[in-house]
Structure formats: structure tokens, C-alpha cells
Symmetry: C2
Subunit: 313 residues, 2 copies
């Protein structure tokens, strides 16, 4: 089932009081480099520093009052953990975050600071799922998947919705591809507002499961992904894959060195902090710049959460 | 002579086609930390990455056509060098930049990239001034001081003008203090638009010549300044000091550790890159936060040019 334009419109209104309508930035240096007009939707300026806030908020707001009274649970050590924690605090529900015990303490602390309960598990899929299920059974909390949940997908699409409403004329929108929630939501929003816009994903060669999923027509697992873009190590799911198959033109894969160069370039030229996962979309733009020549290109800058003590430059 | 409101108004119109009206950003985290409403005027997003573009542009635009045909000269290894180079390119004049031979190659390269001619000199005031004079005599170029030139000062004031026009109600405006051009220009703009607004400077303890200049009533030289805020090592001049004496409430001095903490805090929380000199104004806000409680505080983020290979964290 592909959501309707009403689903998206309502989500835009629903999340509005809780998320920022982030600024769209331009850079003459980037435009010169690509010979294109590039519009960056700066979700690094979103609350908790990433677009994930949108999907988490939308998903919680779609629960019944009874469901909300019992809380929500997810497994994530990344931005979705923080997003669900913050959204839960704002919406006065309880968040249980299942996190691998291998995750850095700082991530668990950030989530606890938002008032969520952190439950550690072994760093593998089986333990993660088992722990989540136990919590659901014990507390009655609703499980919300970080990327393969239709309300999360619709919520993520509100960023592209705002971008299109502001810029109006876009030939292409580029997003990074991790679990698929952002690109699927973006594709849906563009489908209704600008049906001729191409949706293109950026993915690291070291974590190119989405590329191969599109090539083979079957969701490929993400096996031992190796990339600095740690938000993109996850795989697609049955909710977002059909949308991606139908509405995403292609996926451009990029090298690690390209990700780092793009990240550094944006930091130095635009003076904004973008995380490696965001730099993947920028690197895709730079790598294939000839195909974007003279076009209006939107890029979703997905987030700005980096560990400043551990930079690649 | 203190410039009139007409001088500033005209400068705002004069520089408008050449400089960005930079965004004003807010941060709920900063507001919470200070229990105040803080408005950041983001000159780190200005062309070439700093407010200096404003003063350089205004100064060149005030020259006669004959003067412009002969070019402009300044001595600087910092942001004003790049600003004068870029403004000269945009305004079709020639820029001669006198730079100490101790400056990193990367700084000379950046200036050359904008089409300016770099002339190296020994790293001391006497050599710098002698070299500048020689160029003036040889080429007929007009000397433009980075901070002690009334047209530069007026140009820098256009940032505060835009900030006040946008936010309207400000109790205080904080700026870093180096050569004094930014704070003097800010003070003039505020004086005419919001006469009750306090203008406060931030200065490192390791380069507190402006603090002592105000204390003693005499411009104090900047002798062996030691600070990470390398844009603030210069001293006040006879053009800006009377303005500062009359219209600046005080200068708050900050420790190096406070500068680094403020810089890191803004990078992590606001996802924008600010240079150490800008962090000095933020550090002053944090250090004296009790005095800013419940007030509307403007902070001029002066620039965002940092060497990413050489960060203090």
C-alpha cells in the first residue's frame, strides 16, 4: 500500500508543532562545482539533529491514547533512538530503547537524557528482536521500527514536502539510503507534488545492499557493512522497498574517500556540520555531477550528529 | 566624528548587492542554558566566511572611479585579506595584500585564488607598514585598514543593522573585539536603531588590550597576545576607539578553555561551524549568563573560517 497525498498532508500538519521547518540552504561554490542549482534541506538543524525526529513524532501521534499510555519501544543505537526518546518526552509517553551493549556509552546517555529507558542487548539481530519482544509483552508498549514502519516513512517524507513547497521547481532529489525510510518518504512526497522529479539515492560501496536490492528485485541483507556512514548500515524492509522500487530512479554508490571529501567540503564551504551519512548524498551529487548539470537538485542533509573527537580529517 | 544614521543606511543599500543578508539563528538549548532569548547573526555564512566582507565592500565602493582604477592595498593575513581580495574581484579593482612571510601558505593561496596579489613582508609592524607604503607609492593604490577605517567600520555595522531590523527587540548585542571595527560598527547601528541596547564585547584574557584601553582611556598596544582566537590579536585604532568609548558598555574577558568549550558547544548543538574568534562572544555570554537572564541577546557570529586539520578538540 502506497500512502495517499492526504496521508502526507495530514502528517505535515500533525508533526508541525513538534518539529522544525528546517532552512533550505544554497552555496554558490557548490553550484559552481556542479554547474547546477543545489538546494540543501538542512535536517542537521532538526531537533536532536536529524530527520528521524519527523518519523518518530508522526508514528507516536498515530497511536491511540491507550497505546500511548503504555509507551513505545524500538531498537536503535543511532539517531532514531534519540528521536523516539525526544518525541516520547514531548508527547508524554514512555520510550524503551533497545541498544546493543557494544554501543558507546555516550549514545545511551544521550537517550537517557531525553528521559527514555535504555535496555542493553547482545549486538546481533536475534537478541535485539528478542529483547524488543520481551519489552512489548511485559509493558504493552508498541514497537516502532526505525525505518520499516509506514507512519515513520510518511513522517520522514515531510522534509521533502517542505523542501518542494519552498523551492517549487526541482528536477532531482537526492537522499542517503540506509534503512529506506527517508528515501521512501521523500519519493512519496515528490510523487504527489512534483511527479516528474527524479528521486536518487546515495549509498556507500561498503554498504550497498539497497543498490543490490534494486538490481535483484529482492531485499538484500546488509552483511558486514563497512563505512564511515554508520547511519546507513541497515537494510531495506517490506514496507519501504515496494515504494523504492516504484519511485526511486536509481542509487549512486560512492567510495569512502568521496564521502569524507564531500563532508569536509560542506563543512569548509558552507560552515555547517553534516554527518557522514548526509555526506553520502552530497558525494553522489559530486561523483555524477555531469548528469545533474543545469538542473535544480534538492539534497536532503539528513543529520549533523558527529563525534568531534573522532573526525576523519 | 561619529557617522550619522544616513551613513549607515546608505552603506546598507550600497553593500546589499555584494553581501549576503545572513540568517539569524536560534537554539533552544542555548536559550535554556542562559535562561535568555539568544539571536545569532550568522556571519559565518557570509561570503568568504566572515563579516569582514561587509567593510571591505563598503570601503571600496566609497572610492572614486579614479581611485578604484588604481586598486587597494591592506595588510592582513586573516579574514580581511580574503575579504578585500574577494570584494576587489567583484568590484573589478585590483587588490594588493601585504602578508607576513610567517603566515601559512594556505592563507596566501586563498587570497590569490580570489585574484589578489600577495606581497610578503617580515612579520612585524614596521615591515608591514613600510611594505604597504611602498605599494601605495608605486601603484597609487588606496590603503584600506582592516579595522581602523571609518568606511570599514560603517560597513561592519550593516550586520547589526540587519540583525536589529529582523529581531527588532534586543536588550544586548555581543560581539568579539579584535581591531575594533565590528564592535564600533555594531555600536553605531544600534545607537540609531535601538538606543537603549547595551553593546558588550568579548575578548580573550590572553589578548585583552581593548579591555585595558577602556579601563585606562588610552589605546593599549596588543603585545605578544596569546589566544586561539587569532582574529582578535590586533589592537584598537583612533577611528574606532572614540566610538567604543562612547557606545560600548563593557568588555567581558574569557579564558581559553571557555573559548574552546563555547566553540565546541555551538558546533555540537547548533551544527554550525564558528571560528574561535566568534566563540569568544559566545563564551562571554556563557560566562556572565546571570546578567543576561530573561533578556533578548544578539550575538554576532563573526566568521567560520577554521583549519579542520588543527582543531582544539
Amino acid at each position: 500500500m502506497i500512502p495517499s497525498i492526504e496521508d502526507i498532508k495530514q502528517a505535515v500538519q500533525r508533526v508541525k508543532p513538534y518539529v522544525h521547518n528546517t532552512p533550505v540552504m544554497k552555496s554558490s561554490t557548490v553550484n559552481l562545482r556542479c554547474d547546477a542549482k543545489v538546494f540543501f534541506k538542512c535536517e542537521n538543524f532538526q531537533r536532536m539533529g536529524a530527520f528521524k525526529m519527523r518519523g518518530a513524532t508522526n508514528a507516536i501521534l498515530q497511536l491511540t491514547e491507550e497505546e500511548r499510555s503504555k509507551g513505545v519501544v524500538t531498537h536503535s543505537s543511532g539517531n532514531f533512538a534519540q528521536a523516539l526518546a525526544l518525541a516520547s518526552r514531548l508527547l508524554d509517553t514512555k520510550a524503551y530503547i533497545v541498544m546493543p551493549d557494544s554501543a558507546p556509552d555516550i549514545k545511551a546517555e544521550a537517550v537517557k537524557d531525553y528521559g527514555a529507558e535504555v535496555i542493553l542487548c547482545a549486538p546481533n539481530l536475534a537478541s535485539r528482536e528478542k529483547t524488543s519482544e520481551e519489552i512489548q509483552q511485559k509493558t504493552g508498549a508498541t514497537f516502532i521500527h526505525p525505518s520499516n514502519d509506514m507512519q515513520v516513512i510518511i513522517g520522514q517524507g515531510t522534509a521533502a514536502w517542505e523542501l518542494i513547497k519552498e523551492v517549487k521547481d526541482l528536477d532531482v532529489i537526492l537522499t542517503p539510503v540506509g534503512g529506506g525510510g527517508l528515501i521512501a518518504g521523500t519519493a512519496i512526497a515528490a510523487h504527489y507534488l512534483l511527479p516528474n522529479t527524479q528521486i536518487i539515492g546515495g549509498e556507500p560501496f561498503g554498504a550497498d545492499d539497497a543498490y543490490w536490492s534494486l538490481e535483484t528485485g529482492i531485499i538484500q541483507p546488509s552483511i558486514n557493512p563497512v563505512t564511515i556512514a554508520d547511519g546507513l548500515k541497515t537494510q531495506l524492509g517490506d514496507q519501504n522497498f515496494p515504494i523504492i522500487q516504484k519511485h526511486v530512479s536509481k542509487i549512486i554508490r560512492v567510495e569512502e574517500s568521496e564521502i569524507i571529501e564531500a563532508m569536509r567540503y560542506i563543512w569548509e564551504r558552507m560552515k555547517i556540520i553534516i554527518e557522514p551519512s548526509s555526506a553520502v548524498a552530497v558525494a553522489a551529487l559530486f561523483r555524477n555531477k555531469d548528469e545533474f548539470k543545469n538542473r535544480n537538485v534538492g539534497v536532503i542533509i539528513s543529520g549533523g550528529n558527529v563525534d568531534l573527537r573522532n573526525l576523519p580529517f
